[in-house]
């Protein structure tokens, strides 16, 4: 594995955390976390990683399991190998086909149907 960058925390695949995680920087979850996670940087649940709890960060990349609600300042990306159950809230949420999901998307936008086209 490459050396983690400064500002990046990694919970390795053989690590389990029960409790709250919060703070600055980015976080990659390769192991198992039970509890809420709230970081100011990007948060990633790697394939094989698992979070039972709520997740918030600048941007979220979900490749493993998330059972809980997630909120991002910018985007949430759910990868094809992910399993997600909960509410996802962000300016933009993308989901790769293959992901197993039961989620509520609370994206804010208006539909723009316009007037029915009727030219005479």
């Amino acid at each position: 594995m490459t050396r983690p960058q400064l500002g990046l925390s990694v919970l390795g695949p053989a690590t389990r955390v029960t409790g709250r995680i919060s703070g600055d920087g980015a976080l990659r979850i390769e192991g198992l976390v039970k509890g809420d996670v709230n970081v100011r940087g990007e948060a990633e649940i790697a394939e094989g990683g698992s979070l039972e709890g709520n997740l918030s960060g600048e941007a979220l990349d979900i490749g493993g399991t998330l059972l809980g609600d997630a909120r991002a300042e910018s985007v949430i990306a759910v990868r094809s190998g992910a399993q997600v159950r909960g509410e996802l809230r962000a300016a933009e949420v993308s989901i790769e086909a293959g992901a197993r999901i039961s989620v509520r998307l609370e994206t804010e936008f208006e539909l723009d149907f316009g007037a029915a086209q009727r030219r005479r």
């Binding site: 985007v75 197993r100 509520r104 998307l105 994206t107 936008f109 086209q117």
Partner: protein
């Protein structure tokens, strides 16, 4: 193979659309669409109603639920306010979706968490019995052409859709809606008969508005 129907960009259809075959919506539909084939809502398409199909691709805007027995794809620029249910669901970056989104079958849960959250029932797709399937959906506004189905799209096996085993049906009958580049002609309304090997028809009372001045 069924011919494909198109609702042109300057056409408004008020009423339900159902049957076999595939449909491309470039105009406006106010009503439910239930087809056994594929449905593409092009970038100019606007649907206020529920959409149900085998492969459902949305690049326009929908206020209603999306159900795909095989796959639902929501493309960049699309806007969907409604629930989505399908074994495979793709939502591209740049698409906007608000609602409950669920692939059939439950993600594996640890027992403690399973107890915490109520089980969500997979939705039953209100689809007609399957006829010969048509084609993999083309991106956005391209016509849905008859092609062999791409194996990658159908990789996921059918899951959790409670369906009776169906008798083999003949290849899909010809489509009653003629395809024009800019408009949809008024169609014959066929009486329903069970089980209906009907062509894609528009329910009684449906008004297809077409532009005056065009053929």
């Amino acid at each position: 193979m069924a011919e494909n129907s198109v609702i042109g960009a300057d056409t408004v259809v008020s009423g339900h659309i159902r049957g076999q075959g595939s449909l491309e919506i470039l105009g406006r539909v106010e009503g439910d669409v239930t087809l056994t084939g594929n449905v593409v809502v092009g970038a100019t398409g606007r649907v206020r109603g529920n959409l149900s199909a085998a492969q459902l691709t949305v690049a326009g805007q929908v206020q209603g639920d999306l159900r795909g027995t095989e796959v639902v794809l929501v493309e960049r620029g699309a806007r969907v306010a409604g629930d989505i249910a399908s074994p495979r669901i793709g939502i591209a970056p740049g698409a906007l979706v608000r609602g409950h989104v669920q692939t059939d079958g439950e993600p594996a849960l640890a027992p403690s968490v399973a107890a915490r959250r109520p089980a969500v029932q997979p939705r039953v797709v209100a689809a007609q019995p399957a006829a010969a399937r048509v084609a993999a959906p083309q991106p956005a506004a391209a016509r849905v052409a008859a092609q062999p189905i791409s194996p990658t799209l159908l990789k996921a096996p059918h899951k959790a859709e409670p369906r009776k085993p169906e008798p083999a049906r003949p290849p899909a009958p010809p489509v009653a809606i003629e395809t024009e580049s800019a408009s949809t002609r008024p169609v014959k309304v066929e009486p329903r008969r069970p089980p209906p090997p009907v062509v894609p028809v528009i329910s009684k009372g449906t008004k297809a508005k077409k532009k005056k001045g065009r053929d």
